[in-house]
């Protein structure tokens, strides 16, 4: 993502994909894309493990992301090689306070993954529900929903998110707030996709047949249209997660995301910037983690979109 102007990548990509006649992946599978599933999957799984076991993993060396270790510093700069890398601090420590950097990265992955995944679920639920409604019933429902989508597409998301962070009382947990904001702004891409597919699918023989036989709209939507959409949705969601993770990090980088002392990669990056020449490892670890995780999801998404050929899925 060049700039975090869209929360979920859904807007740009969604609109482009929805307008394009060929839906995404190339027709046949290449070995490259198959290996990308494996590599991407492994990266993502590693980070999931890191997030789930952040506590025990940090505890191996007796660390947590809050405790200060002034003994690991020489003055205000980490002592020793690579920003204070040692047996007890695998990634070294932060300057000034000497907090264990591995713990920060590990706990930070919880925030990144958690917000990425849960906001996707919210977007998915809203997007699918509204997309199905608009595509199946058309008419007024479609007009209303489509106009709402236009509002969201034209909405300066980043500014809105910044403003919200100021308005919402600080007693409201930031991770939840970011999840809700990203979830709430990430649905139009999915809704547009679902609407388009539903429009096509509901004219297909099997759907028409069901309706003729007296099936309720809910039955048709749930049993016939939704299953056909699943592969597309999985790919779309997987590919939207990097955007969400990037958006959280970007907001935290700008100082309007996660508040200290909660570890967040984006905030660590912004803290580390001024130390870059003195202690480059401080920037490298959280920055590298952020890049690697988004890279993993993108690889996985690419591979999946090829493996589950959307057109094939639709025809089944």
């Amino acid at each position: 993502m060049s700039e975090v102007t869209a929360p979920a990548g859904g807007t740009k990509r969604g609109s482009a994909a929805a307008r394009s006649t060929a839906t995404g992946a190339s027709a046949d599978r290449s070995p490259y894309l198959r290996s990308s599933i494996i590599v991407g999957g492994v990266i993502v799984l590693l980070f999931v493990a890191l997030a789930v076991f952040a506590g025990p993993l940090s505890a191996i060396t007796g660390n947590d992301p809050y405790a200060e270790h002034p003994e690991a510093l020489a003055g205000s700069v980490p002592a020793g090689f690579g920003g204070g890398i040692s047996a007890s601090h695998w990634f070294g420590v932060t300057p000034l306070r000497g907090v264990d950097l591995f713990s920060i990265v590990a706990y930070g992955s919880r925030i990144s993954l958690g917000i990425g995944l849960f906001s996707s679920v919210i977007s998915l639920v809203i997007g699918v529900a509204l997309g199905l409604l608009a595509g199946y019933f058309q008419g007024l429902a479609d007009a209303l929903i489509s106009r709402t989508m236009d509002v969201f597409f034209g909405f300066p998301f980043l500014i809105f998110a910044i403003a919200l962070s100021v308005v919402v009382p600080q007693s409201f947990p930031r991770p939840l707030l970011l999840t809700l904001v990203l979830g709430f702004f990430g649905w139009p891409g999915i809704a547009r996709l679902v609407r388009g597919q539903t429009l096509t699918l509901s004219k297909r023989n099997f759907a028409v047949a069901s309706r003729v036989m007296g099936a309720s709209p809910a039955h048709v939507l749930w049993h016939q249209i939704l299953p056909n959409l699943m592969p597309l949705l999985i790919v779309n969601v997987t590919l939207s997660i990097p955007g969400r993770i990037g958006a959280e990090a970007g907001l935290s980088f700008l100082g309007v995301g996660m508040n200290p002392p909660t570890p967040s990669w984006g905030r660590s990056i912004s803290d580390a910037v001024q130390w870059a020449l003195v202690d480059p490892m401080y920037l490298l670890f959280p920055g590298g983690a952020l890049f690697l995780l988004t890279f993993g999801f993108n690889l996985l998404g690419d591979g999946l979109s090829d493996a589950i050929d959307p057109r094939k899925g639709v025809r089944a």
Partner: protein, 557 residues
């Protein structure tokens, strides 16, 4: 947004908007000061001042700036600050011949203007220009500046500025050389007030209700050649300025360029490396921690640093409206680990331990310590006091900005030792400054910092402890209200004899601390960095900022 370099200044919540420019923040003199301080610089060359702020509004009516920073070189006022390296800062006559003649028990102040003082277009500055400048500051469109004079001048409450042809009668200009102020109460510090930006002369008819701040008419040794938001402001010589009339400005460089929207880390880096303009530049803000560490480790860079002496008071305010038991507050006085706070602020270079409210370098200060303990605190005494109060494990809410995360957690840890649980609530900067100064006061503890606007105990004590300064955007953060203290403040303020006033202030200081509304933590020091060719980088005992009026280049480039 708050960058790391404004950390300390942001703590001094006072200064939110005008930070780097005004030089409002924390503290003052230098380790290597004499080397830099007293040498004679060259005349000529271009001096660069690197600012992180994105615009420079130079309208004197709206300025909260110190008289010795950005606008010191273009605006003269009735009085000025005479700053010497490590010495006491004195108020001296600038446009006027004296610092003010009081009469009517200090309710009337009279000034006579010097001969040979001119604007940058060559016209002579008259007392009417000063009156007009002051009147402008009452206009509804020109609010936001320091407003000490607004509460003091008779009839000012109902005055809305000169743009409708109305004038403020409590400022009299019997002739072009004389200006008389009528105050509603005696005010011994008026000579200091007369040094603030609102007392800058503005030629009548040339200072519109908006837009004057870009290139205002100058009266100092420089005039504003250009001022482009986000880029730079250029000061060039004002040929009508006469050095003989000016006791404080040395006007060394031919040109001063203020470069705006600079990244502090990058700017500090370029100054250290000394490449290009770096050696002829100085950073207006504090040196960020990373560059500070870098410079301290390298002897060549170390001599570019200038650290002030004891400056702004950083303190832990205890909301006396909520923590009503004196014993509990006293327990907090003992429980706080000032050493840990100092470490979290960056170590010894961040400042010395504080015990008094009036800061070092201000006339009238008496050193004392009501709550004697090690710098790490006296946990046993704190526990005992809590026991006496019958509250062995109080639960308190500390509000903090994200920049205070580290210092706040050090307070949390140190109070924990005495059994006091502190919940830290991190707030966004603007929400924070509202939360600490609004009328509700929904907090038990808050870390504050206060750099007085002028070096007088009045500016130190009154804004923080007078009961009229609770809420409404004011900084009595402890919400401290004691009629006896109010009376003492009033008495000291109205005492014209300054040594007499000083005694009353010292008494007030102790009286307040006996009620333990705040825990003095440290007198913060500011560290600045300047290029190798920059000299006369003088930081006096007050304020903890370099005197821009004296900075010169060692050799003209």
């Amino acid at each position: 947004m708050t960058n790391k370099h404004v950390v300390r200044a942001a703590i001094a919540g006072v200064c939110a908007a005008v930070l780097a420019l005004s030089g409002c923040g924390a503290s003052n003199n230098t380790a290597n000061g004499t080397a830099n301080g007293q040498s004679t610089g060259a005349t000529g060359g271009t001096l660069n001042v690197l600012l992180s702020s994105t615009e420079m509004d130079l309208d004197p009516a709206k300025s909260q700036g110190l008289p010795i920073t950005t606008n010191g070189n273009i605006f003269r006022r009735l009085t000025a600050w005479k700053i010497t390296q490590g010495g006491e800062t004195k108020v001296v006559p600038d446009l006027a011949t004296t610092t003010g003649e009081p009469s009517d028990d200090g309710k009337t102040w009279t000034y006579t203007l010097k001969d040979g003082i001119k604007f940058d277009d060559g016209t002579t500055i008259t007392s009417k220009d000063i009156k007009y400048g002051l009147e402008r500051s009452f206009a509804d469109s020109l609010t936001g500046g320091l407003s000490y004079h607004k509460t003091l001048l008779v009839g000012a409450q109902d005055y809305h500025g000169p743009f409708d042809g109305k004038h403020l009668d409590s400022i009299e200009t019997p002739d072009d050389k004389t200006i008389v102020f009528h105050l509603n109460a005696p005010f011994g510090d008026w000579p200091w007030v007369a040094s603030l930006a609102a007392f800058t002369p503005v030629p009548e008819g040339k200072g519109p209700a908006s837009g004057y701040g870009k290139t205002p008419v100058a009266s100092g040794p420089y005039k504003v050649e250009s001022n482009e938001a986000g880029k730079q402001a250029v000061y060039v010589r004002n040929k009508y300025w006469d050095k003989k009339t000016d006791p404080v400005r040395t006007a060394g460089p031919d040109k001063i360029v203020f470069k705006m929207s600079q990244d502090t880390s990058v700017a500090a880096q370029s100054i250290m490396q000394g490449t290009g303009e770096g050696k002829n530049s100085f950073l207006s803000g504090f040196v960020p921690p990373a560059q500070l560490a870098q410079a301290q480790a390298n002897p060549a860079y170390q001599k570019l640093l200038a650290t002030s002496g004891d400056g702004a008071l950083e303190y832990l305010a205890i909301n006396t409206k909520r923590v009503t038991d004196l014993k509990v507050r006293q327990a907090i006085e003992y429980a706080v680990d000032k050493k840990a706070y100092q470490t979290a602020s960056g170590g010894e270079i961040a400042g010395n331990f504080a015990t008094t409210l009036i800061t070092p370098g201000i006339a009238g200060r008496e050193k004392y310590d009501l709550y004697k303990a090690d710098s790490t605190g006296d946990v046993d005494k704190a526990k005992q006091l809590l026991k006496e109060a019958g509250q062995t494990s109080p639960n308190l809410k500390l509000i903090a900005t994200s920049d205070q995360a580290e210092t706040a957690s050090s307070i949390q840890t140190s109070l924990k030792r005495a059994g006091i649980t502190v919940d830290i609530q991190t707030l966004n900067d603007d929400v924070f400054s509202d939360a600490e100064t609004n009328n509700e006061g929904d907090y038990d503890l808050v870390i504050g910092g206060w750099q007085p606007d002028f070096p007088s105990p009045y500016a130190n004590i009154s804004p923080l402890f007078d009961s009229s300064q609770i809420g409404n955007g004011n900084y009595n953060l402890a919400r401290y209200s004691n009629p006896e203290v109010d009376a003492l403040i009033k008495k000291a303020t109205e005492t014209i004899d300054q040594s007499e006033a000083g005694k009353i202030w010292a008494e007030t200081d102790k009286k307040i601390m006996a009620d333990a509304p705040v825990v003095p933590l440290i007198y913060s020091k500011n560290t600045f960095i300047h290029g190798s060719n920059v000299t006369n980088f003088v930081i006096g005992n007050f304020p903890a900022y370099p005197d821009y009026n004296q900075v010169t280049l060692a050799s003209a480039n």
